[in-house]
Amino acid sequence: MITAEYSFDLPVPPETAFALVSDPEQDPVWQAACVESRLLNGPAREGCRYEITFALVGKRMTFTVEIDSYEPGRVSKFHVLDGPFTYYGTYAYSAGPAGTTVDWTFDVEPGDYFGIMPKSLLRKVLVNSVKKDSAKLAEKLRQEAGSRS
């Protein structure tokens, strides 16, 4: 099992941040590795299922995921029902002086899906993806805020 963690700030209130990050339909918008996402049983909520496809380190992988927890502005959790390997994810939100701090946690059991790639490297790949994606998202939100003011 690999545990990847990362915290990032978004210049918006927790509720807005939650709506952008925890809604699976938004994943292709802000995650570079996410190719597509499709809700399978209605809007995002606890018990919602969705199908999501990633392209990462040369592999294209599709998962069916279920949302385990969905508390707008506070936390969302999800896990894989079906896919090449299993993962569990959490986004936790807390208000801060700059907007919202998002704590991302990702537990992955990749098996031998990534071949000889060391787990330490996979962890870095995952963290780096979130790091870059969240930085871009934050910048985009800052620019939008700037253009409104």
Binding site: A32, V57, G58, K59, D112, I116, P118, L121, K124, N128
Partner: protein, 1369 residues
């Protein structure tokens, strides 16, 4: 005082005229050393102008006119694609400078003028001549004209002076100055050099100058620097009028010229100064062979090389005949410009010397301006002067053109019927005192030769009585009366005075004098009980320690002589010494007994009571001991020297000891290297040993409170001083164990811990200490001897210790014969003779040699050995009585070349024969050759010393293929380690001289060969180790499986390697470990193991840089390793350090970065520790060029400058260049491919196959395939290769996710032109680079561009951009 200098700017130039080869040669010298003033032609005069005279303003107009009229005065040079290009500028103002010098005293003014005349020209800025007026009084000026020789020669300057005079006088000048002929001359020369005639002349020159000696070995006062500085001095001299007349007369008698007579005398002088018979002298010719060139302005002078052969058996008249012919031969080729000749002949070059000749002789005599002769003398007469247009001119002589060669004599001028000349010397090697002595000696030599032209040269004195006068005083040591007591008696005296004082300390054991005396007497008693009697020899084989000292003294106490045996020597050599000395008994220690089986009866120091073991001591069957003191012979008649001459007589000594009348009274027999392949024993009497000990005690002032750290093996005679001098003085000797003595760091610690006040060692050992980081010890007094003391080491030692004495002496004259304090500022000499010792520098006829000339050093006095043990012929050859310089004295012939300086210092200039001193050991090269020739499969062999290493060149027997390692192993069976060649080179044949002798000068540079399969370094640790090896061993490259000792390493270089490893990784590798694990690969393993606790940074030093030079940083390519840059670095210009940044994941698991931004940020942290601020130079191959781009962007954002940013076939990180997404199998396939690239091999493993195999199996498949292909070792470290792959994969991920914004940076792109993959002409960089994007095409494809031969091309493309570098500190 105001200085003014007009700007010298040229207007746009007209078409460039060709320049001649002499000009080009001078331009190249100037390019190599832009500060060089050795080619400035200078004229000086003092001018007083009448009040009403308008000479000054008219002179200015004349000069303006001349400048305008003559192209030759407006030329300059610029670098072009094929060498320098000459330009004539349309309009150039005259460069006239002014200085108000009315407040300067004459000496200060002269110094100022001299300094100004040496201010270098910028050859690209006309005019290349200038005038300077120094106002010294209201109407008086000192005036100088300075011309760079590349623009004009002395003849041209004289033409201009003549022309100026005529125009000022309102007259038409005698010459029609031609300021354009120089261009036609160059064209004609160019055409001529392509002609058959020039080729024929060249062929003749090649034949005439074949096999010239590599250089003129002038023995200087200072060690010759690696590159000449062109700094010099001048000494004027005068040949007396009667000698001048004799020269003229001899010229007439021999149908020669005064020039030839003088040149012949110069040949004799140079031959005697150098000891060479084959002497080359450069002599200038005017180059104005055609009449129309007589009035031309420019530089036409050419130098020809006259090759003289001086045979001391011939007469001067005979030599003159030969010189005449040789001058004519040389002059025939005067149309061949010297720089061109050197290029065509390509003689072996020594960068420390000028090519072909190092001494010059010029005969300059102007056929015009005869009323100004005195103006061209360095010492003009007091009344010299003339008036021109109302201005009174007086000579103002200035030295010039100094330092072009080691020595240069210029003559041709004459005053009052006497030739006047000047000797110019290079101050790199000569002091002014010596130059004056040489100038005086030239005059003396000339006087002698012209006075006695029909006597053999060898019978003619080199100097005069004045020069001989000081020799006797300088060469005689203090006379002291020697006591009759022997060494044990002297030690007994000390024991009586201070029985409780510590005498010997070793290994935690301390013996006071009482104990030492008791042990000595115990040993002596045991020896006597064993049957040892006076005159017997006793072999002593013992570990270093107090018992060894007692053993040696005990043997002496028993009236026997000891034969010291070092347990570390090969058994064969030990046996030989014991047998040859006819030792009666072996005195040893129980634990050493088994290491050397011998039939000698043995007495164990640690069990003396047990008595002798083995056979009963043989009955004394030696020939009587009178076989030892062999006769010595005078040069002509044999005159036996009895043993008594070395004994001081037989009979009863002062202690009542009965010495057999026929006993040689020997103290010891010490074996040294011998030319027959066997060492030879030197028999030293008690008196000599006592004399040395008392003399050195007096010289050093060693007292009872002093202590000495003894570090020298007992088989080296100087150990005697270390072990015994402290005991004679009542002081303390600390016996250092062998392992500590051989390990610089350990020895430094011992010096510090022990608090000793004295230590004696060879320069090699002192250097070993320095290399190990020792900085000196304030209380330590140093004795340094056994080999040449280098100046830098002398400076180091004198700076860090209480005192330093250089000591000199051969074994045959008992340890040291001279000693003296070292003053590095005065240079290094070998000191003055010690008490009761006389030093003589003699010529081959046994006559004293005058100061400045080299000769052979002979030694007489109480230190002389009895002779060589059992070698009467050799003794007779080396110990001689009756030489002309000291008819009644027995002298030992050292074989060392020495020279007295003019002020009485004795300088040592190496060996005269093939005996060498290496790391303090005396080695007969012939002995090593004999041993190597005896090895199976070796036909012949020659051994030389190169860079402090013994190098053996051998020719195999037909059909044999001896391996160097086997030859070394075979030699080591019978030779001590220090005599085993470090490098063995196998040749098809040895180079021979014309006389069919082995030409040692033409032996090739030793190309180190190893029997190991060559494999390049594979990681940063191995790269760093390989770099250390190449730097320490001075070889271009090493493979990771080469053994340090097979490729030229030896124990002292191992010390340096150990120190370098400690500095780099803080890992201590003892020398013993280096001996066992001597390959780069093995050492890397030890380093990695030892360095685990201190993970190192990602910066790998590929090459050290000069002080103050900013480094070039190279980022790793795809994969993270940096060994790809090794070849590139070899071809980048020297000076700047080359530091490579490898991926951290290469060395440490889990460290790989997967974003370019993070990589760059992390790498910059390390880079800025080395270079905190810009400008930075960054670059890399492949992915390295991408990291460099990101790093440059980050530096720029931080406000830093980047002055060089380059990528070698790096594809820009843009969407279009990102390869299609690739999984781990694909990247693994690429990884396999790239493993093979450095080896020029191909390893294609389809990704599909790897995908199918999956994970570990796929990886293992790659390892097997790579091993089968020979690009990985069978036992390659899997974990290490896996780390490589992790870094590779991380790089791949990083590259796929890096899409930077354009940046305002300049970028130099080296594009591999043979790369088939198309990424556009600028590889996409035009989308990112907002600054200047320069694209340079280089040979090779994407991979081969970094490996031979293409890496050199890439380096060449980068080199111009590395430019000047300033200090970043």
């Amino acid at each position: 005082m105001n200085d003014t200098a007009p700007g010298a700017t040229g207007s746009p130039a007209t078409a460039p005229p060709r320049l001649n080869a002499q000009q080009a040669g001078l331009w190249f010298i100037h390019e190599a050393d832009p500060g060089c003033a050795a080619y400035h032609i200078v004229f000086g005069a003092e001018v007083t102008v009448d009040a009403e005279s308008d000479a000054a303003s008219r002179a200015g107009r004349v000069l303006d006119d001349l400048m305008r009229e003559h192209d030759a005065l407006r030329i300059a040079f610029r670098p072009g694609p094929d060498g320098p290009v000459q330009w004539v500028h349309d309009s150039v103002p005259v460069d006239v400078r002014g200085t108000d010098a009315r407040d300067l005293d004459p000496a200060t003014l002269r110094a100022r003028v001299r300094t100004d005349s040496r201010v270098p020209f910028d050859l690209s800025r006309p005019p290349l001549w200038r005038l300077h007026l120094y106002r010294t009084a209201e109407r008086t000026w000192v005036f100088t004209a300075v011309v760079h020789h590349a623009a004009a020669d002395f003849w041209s300057l004289a033409l201009l002076i003549s022309e100026v005079r005529s125009r000022l006088a309102g007259e038409t000048g005698p010459f029609a100055l031609d300021g354009t002929a120089f261009a036609a001359y160059a064209e004609e020369q160019h055409d001529f050099l392509g002609s058959d005639r020039a080729r024929a002349l060249l062929d003749r020159e090649a034949e005439r100058l074949a096999d010239v000696p590599p250089g003129l070995d002038l023995y200087g006062d200072r060690p010759r620097p690696p590159a000449p500085s062109y700094d010099g001095g001048s000494t004027p001299f005068t040949v007396p009028a009667e000698v001048t007349e004799a020269v003229r007369q001899l010229a007439r008698d021999t149908a020669t010229t005064p020039y030839m007579v003088l040149l012949a005398a110069y040949f004799v002088l140079l031959s005697r100064l150098s000891g060479q018979s084959d002497v080359l002298v450069g002599t200038p010719t005017s180059g104005r062979l055609q009449r129309r060139m007589r009035d031309a302005i420019g530089n036409f002078v050419n130098t020809v090389v006259v090759r003289g052969e001086v045979d001391e058996e011939s007469t001067y008249r005979q030599l003159l005949g030969s010189v005449r012919a040789r001058v004519l031969e040389a002059t025939r080729a005067q149309e061949l410009p010297f720089p061109w000749l050197v290029r065509e002949l390509a003689p072996p070059r020594d960068p420390s010397r000028t090519p072909l000749y190092q001494a010059g002789f010029a005969w300059d005599r102007l056929p015009f301006l005869t009323d100004m002769d005195e103006f061209f003398l360095l010492e003009p007469g007091p009344d010299a002067g003339l008036t021109v247009a109302g201005a009174a001119l007086r000579p103002y002589p200035l030295p010039q053109q100094e330092g072009q060669t080691d020595l240069w004599i210029e003559m041709g001028a004459e005053r009052a019927g006497a030739y006047a000349g000047v000797l110019r010397h290079n101050t790199d090697i000569y002091t002014a005192d010596t130059a004056r002595e040489i100038a005086a000696t030239f005059v003396t030599t000339l006087e002698t030769l012209v006075g006695r032209p029909d006597e053999p040269l060898r019978d003619l004195a080199r100097g005069d009585a004045r020069q001989l006068a000081g020799l006797a005083e300088w060469g005689t040591g203090p006379e002291r009366e020697l006591p009759a007591a022997r060494l044990p008696d002297l030690v007994r005296d000390s024991a009586r005075r201070t029985p409780d004082a510590i005498a010997v300390a070793a290994d935690g054991t301390e013996w006071d004098y009482a104990r030492l005396l008791a042990e000595t007497e115990r040993v002596a008693a045991a020896l006597r009980a064993a049957g040892v009697a006076a005159g017997d020899r006793v072999a002593v084989l013992a570990e270093r320690g107090a018992p060894l000292v007692a053993a040696l003294l005990g043997v002496l106490e028993a009236d026997a002589a000891y034969v010291p045996l070092d347990p570390g020597l090969p058994a064969e050599r030990l046996s030989y010494m014991a047998t040859d000395s006819r030792a009666r008994l072996l005195l040893t220690q129980t634990h050493l007994r088994t290491s050397w089986p011998t039939s000698l009866p043995t007495l164990h120091l640690d069990d003396l009571e047990a008595g002798t073991e083995g056979t009963t001591p043989p009955a004394r069957t030696d020939p009587p001991d009178t076989t030892v003191p062999v006769p010595a012979f005078t040069a002509g008649t044999a005159a036996p020297v009895t043993g008594e001459s070395g004994l001081g007589g037989g009979g009863a000594d002062s202690g009542g000891r009965q010495v057999p009348a026929d006993s040689p009274d020997l103290a010891y027999i010490l074996y040294t290297s011998g030319s027959t392949g066997r060492p030879k024993g030197v028999a030293i009497p008690h008196r000599a040993l006592v004399n040395l000990l008392l003399a050195l005690r007096e010289e050093t002032g060693f007292g009872a409170s002093d202590s000495l750290l003894a570090v020298t093996t007992v088989s080296f005679d100087i150990a005697g001083l270390e072990l015994f001098m402290p005991l004679v003085a009542g002081g303390r000797v600390l016996v250092c164990d062998s392992a500590t003595a051989a390990d610089g760091a350990a020895l430094a610690a011992r010096i510090e811990d022990s608090g000793v006040t004295w230590m004696q060692a060879t320069p090699t050992s002192w250097r070993m200490l320095r290399d190990a980081g020792w900085t000196g010890a304030a209380r330590l007094n140093v004795l340094c001897g056994g080999e040449e003391l280098p100046l830098d080491l002398a400076e180091f030692l004198t700076a860090g210790t209480a005192s330093v004495r250089n000591v000199y002496g051969p074994t045959e004259t008992t340890i040291w014969s001279s000693a003296g304090p070292v003053d590095p500022a005065a240079g290094v000499d070998i000191g003055a003779p010690v008490a009761n010792t006389r030093l003589h520098v003699l010529d081959p006829q046994g006559r004293a040699v005058e100061p400045t000339f080299p000769g052979e050093l002979w030694i007489g006095g109480d230190g002389l050995a009895v002779g060589y043990w059992d070698r009467p012929e050799l003794t007779a050859e080396r110990f001689v009585t009756g030489l002309p310089a000291a008819p009644g004295e027995r002298l030992y012939r050292t074989g060392d070349r020495a020279r007295w300086t003019a002020d009485g210092r004795l300088l040592h200039h190496g060996r005269l024969d093939h005996q060498v001193k290496l790391r303090g050991y005396r080695i007969e090269l012939a002995e090593v050759e004999t041993v190597v020739k005896a090895v199976d499969g070796v036909s012949t062999a020659v051994v030389v010393v190169r860079d402090d290493r013994l190098v053996c060149y051998l020719v195999p027997e037909p059909g044999a293929e001896p391996k160097p390692a086997d030859v070394r192993a075979a030699a080591a069976v019978s030779l001590p380690q220090y005599m085993v060649p470090s490098i063995v080179v196998v040749l098809d044949e040895l180079p021979l001289t014309a006389n069919k002798k082995i030409d040692r000068n033409r032996l090739p540079e030793p190309a180190v060969t190893s029997d190991a399969v060559f494999e390049k370094p594979r990681d940063a640790t191995e790269i760093t180790l390989a770099r250390m090896w190449t730097e320490i061993l001075g070889i271009p490259e090493v493979g990771v499986h080469d053994d340090f000792f097979d490729v030229g390493g030896h124990s002292l270089l191992a010390v340096r390697l150990s120190a370098a490893i400690r500095d780099e990784w803080d890992v201590d590798i003892p020398i013993s470990e280096l001996l066992r694990h001597g390959t780069v690969a093995e050492l890397a393993t030890i380093v990695r193991r030892g360095g685990q606790d201190t993970p190192r940074g990602p910066i790998v030093t590929l090459r050290e840089g000069g002080p103050g030079q900013r480094p070039l940083f190279l980022f790793h390519p795809f994969g993270g390793t940096v060994f790809c840059y090794v070849e590139l670095t070899r071809h980048l210009p020297e000076g700047r350090a080359v530091l490579a940044v490898e991926a951290p994941g290469i060395e440490n698991e889990g460290e790989a970065e997967i974003s370019v931004e993070a990589m760059a940020a992390r790498y910059l942290e390390h880079i800025r520790e080395i270079q905190p601020h810009g400008p930075y130079a960054l670059g890399g191959w492949c992915f390295g060029g991408v990291i460099a781009y990101e790093a440059a962007g980050q530096l720029r954002a931080a406000g830093e400058q980047v002055d060089l940013l380059f990528g070698i076939d790096s594809r820009a990180p843009i969407e279009e260049n990102i390869p299609e997404s690739s999984d781990d199998a694909t990247i693994l396939s690429w990884f396999a491919r790239d493993l093979a690239v450095p080896y020029g091999k191909t390893l294609d493993i389809p990704a599909e196959l790897l995908r199918e195999l999956g994970g570990e199996a796929a990886f293992d498949h790659i390892l097997r395939e790579a091993a089968a292909l020979g690009v990985l070792a069978e036992d390659a470290d899997r974990a290490q290769i896996l780390r490589y792959f992790e870094a590779y994969l991380a790089n791949g991920i990083a590259l796929q996710t890096y899409l930077p914004e354009p940046n305002d940076l300049d970028y130099l792109l080296l594009r591999a032109v043979d790369e088939p993959a198309g990424y556009g002409p600028q590889l996409g960089w035009d989308a990112l680079v907002k600054g200047a994007l320069r694209v340079v095409d280089v040979a090779g494809d994407h991979n081969s561009v970094m490996y031979p031969p293409h890496a050199a091309v890439a380096a060449q493309a980068i080199s111009p951009h590395l430019g000047a570098s300033d200090d970043h500190s």
